[in-house]
């Protein structure tokens, strides 16, 4: 591989000349790898929050990010759609490629966030009607035809398994929904923007077990069409729904492998300690 022979040019703070496309990225057969992350470091001021993380995210798979609080898994997730741009003093070096393109230089920020949707830990419906919540993304993309919007709203709510319970109250405030409904609405809202990737940041940590199960079922369904990366503090959840699992500890990616392998035969002793509940 070319990578081993060429010196790997670190990119400084999202700027500098565009690096030549690495042999890997060129070789990536389109569609199979959604994200390629190589030697990524992230700093909050002087704090080195992510250390030399490299990971490939395969298309139409669920990748789970696990690890104890403060290990950097959420920070890593938020780098993938550049939500960390909003954080002052946050600096990222290394290479993050989305569908083969450098997310800092070759992809427009707004286009990236449209393609890479996000569902947050707390449900975050806007103080608007259910319809307007879901229509928010399409409206940003310039769709204003009422019929077309209605179609997208219905389709998205169906996909997120909310249509039946919400179809009669589309014009009511989304804030009147229960927590679990709000979170599924947020998933519908994300889907309505037509992403190809959905980032989920502990989407069930604020929910009861039944709502959690609904979201998990939903994730498994959505995987047919979308690539999902989910941060979870719940190892059982990672085990139940993910294809690949990444274990983070103190800003380092300790192990990244097939979920089945990780939970049955982890190669790093730290992973084993964590998943058997000895710390974290």
């Amino acid at each position: 591989m070319a990578l081993t022979t060429t010196t790997y040019g670190y990119t400084k703070e999202h700027s500098g000349e565009a690096r030549p496309v690495s042999a890997d990225a060129a070789a990536a057969d389109s569609g199979s790898l959604t994200f390629e992350i190589k030697h990524m470091d992230l700093f909050y001021g002087d704090h080195h929050a992510l250390k030399d993380v490299s990971m490939d995210v395969r298309t139409h798979e669920i990748t789970a990010l696990i690890g104890p609080s403060g290990c950097g898994k959420s920070t890593f997730l938020k780098s993938l759609n550049r939500m960390n741009d909003l954080v002052e003093n946050c600096r990222i070096t290394g290479d993050i490629r989305f569908e083969g393109k450098d997310i800092f230089r070759e992809v427009d920020l707004l286009a990236l966030r449209t393609r890479v949707g996000m569902v947050f830990q707390q449900p975050t419906p806007f103080p608007k009607s259910i319809f307007e919540n879901v229509a928010y993304g399409p409206r940003l993309q310039g769709i204003s035809n009422k019929g077309q919007l209605s179609e997208i709203v219905e389709q998205s709510l169906r996909q997120a398994a909310c249509w039946d319970e919400m179809k009669d109250r589309l014009n009511q405030s989304a804030l009147g929904l229960s927590g679990g409904q709000q979170q599924r609405l947020c998933i519908a809202r994300t889907l309505a923007a037509r992403p190809s990737v959905i980032l989920m940041d502990e989407p069930t940590s604020a929910l009861d077990p039944i709502s959690t199960q609904k979201i998990e079922d939903l994730a498994l369904e959505l995987k047919e069409k979308y690539t999902i990366i989910i941060v979870t503090h719940n190892m059982q959840q990672a085990k139940r729904i993910s294809d690949k699992t990444a274990f983070f500890l103190l800003g380092e990616l300790i192990e990244f492998d097939d979920t089945v392998k990780m939970f049955t035969d982890p190669s790093n002793p730290k992973t084993e300690e964590y998943i058997t509940g000895r710390f974290g």
Partner: protein
């Protein structure tokens, strides 16, 4: 009685005393506006009861010629003062709103924390400037300036009053709006950014709609201040007892009419009663403003921040 028992008894005594004192203060606080209201009601209704004028005449007639005697018999139509007040208030609101909103958005959404620390006290300083200073500056700077650019028969005008008031209510509306914008949860902004929205789209479609209750409160408070301001307005509006027909002509407002004539009107006379009725009207208006604010707040908490 041992020392502990004494201490406990003393603590109970102090607690009771404090409760009585604080309750008394609270009752006084509530009593003062009620008493003022009652007094205004008592004096302000003379126009209708003692001098037999109708409410319609007071509100809608433009004939202002009350008799300065206890016999009365004049005309008590305050419509030109009422429309003058409304015109000045609306004008100041229209003038100040774009700047207030822009300043509030800049402060909360765009300025760095350092710039914010500088801006906040600067804007708050506006409120601390006495109104006579605003009026004085308006008189010496604004009026000659306006006369130099517009062909105005008199120097004093509705426009001058509107501009002075606009500057006076700017800090009220700006700080209230900025507080409301800053209170919009960060999670909503993040969700909006996460859907591919720009900062402006996020401000326009999420932040401002979510803050509209607080912004409306700021606007009403600003209006209330504009409605009640007498001195600065009196110094630049010209105080001519006519309907406000043009931006460039003098006019009068409820407050300027009261302050101009209250010294000369005979106690117990019809003129005096007419002025008290205008005072009562101002009181009722500010009452209405306060109710409106509470209504809007209830409305936005009902459908807004449930959590």
């Amino acid at each position: 009685m041992n020392q502990l028992q004494k201490a406990i008894a003393k603590a109970h005594r102090n607690d009771r005393t404090a409760k009585i004192l604080i309750t008394a203060c609270g009752v006084c606080m509530a009593l003062v506006p009620i008493l003022i209201g009652l007094f205004l009601f008592y004096r302000g209704t003379d126009t209708f009861t003692l001098f037999h004028h109708s409410l319609t005449e007071f509100l809608f007639s433009g004939e202002w010629n009350p008799g300065d005697t206890a016999e009365g018999g004049g005309k008590v139509g305050a419509a030109m003062f009422i429309t003058g007040s409304l015109a000045v208030c609306l004008l100041s609101l229209i003038l100040t709103l774009p700047f207030s909103m822009a300043a509030a958005i800049f402060m909360t959404e765009i300025a760095t924390p350092k710039a914010r620390r500088l801006l906040q006290p600067a804007i708050e300083l506006f409120t601390g400037i006495p109104s006579v200073v605003y009026g004085f500056v308006g008189l010496t700077v604004l009026i000659p300036f306006l006369k130099s650019i517009f062909p105005m028969p008199f120097s004093f005008s509705l426009l001058a009053a509107g501009i002075v008031l606009a500057i006076m209510i700017f800090p009220t509306i700006t700080t209230m709006s900025a507080d409301a914008l800053a209170a919009v949860p960060k999670s909503w902004r993040e969700a909006s950014y996460g859907l591919g929205a720009t900062r402006w789209e996020t401000i326009a479609h999420v932040v401002i709609p979510a803050a509209k209750g607080g912004i409306a409160t700021g606007i009403i408070l600003g209006l209330a201040r504009a409605m009640g301001e007498a001195l600065a307005v009196a110094m630049v509006i010209g105080q001519m007892k006519v309907f406000p027909k043009s931006l460039f002509l003098p006019a009068s407002t409820l407050t300027t009419a009261i302050s101009a004539d209250m010294g000369g009107a005979m106690e117990g006379g019809e003129y005096n009663a007419g002025l008290w009725t205008m005072a009562l009207l101002l009181f009722l208006l500010s009452f209405a403003f306060i109710f409106l604010i509470h209504y809007i707040n209830d409305l936005s908490t009902l459908k807004g921040e449930k959590k």
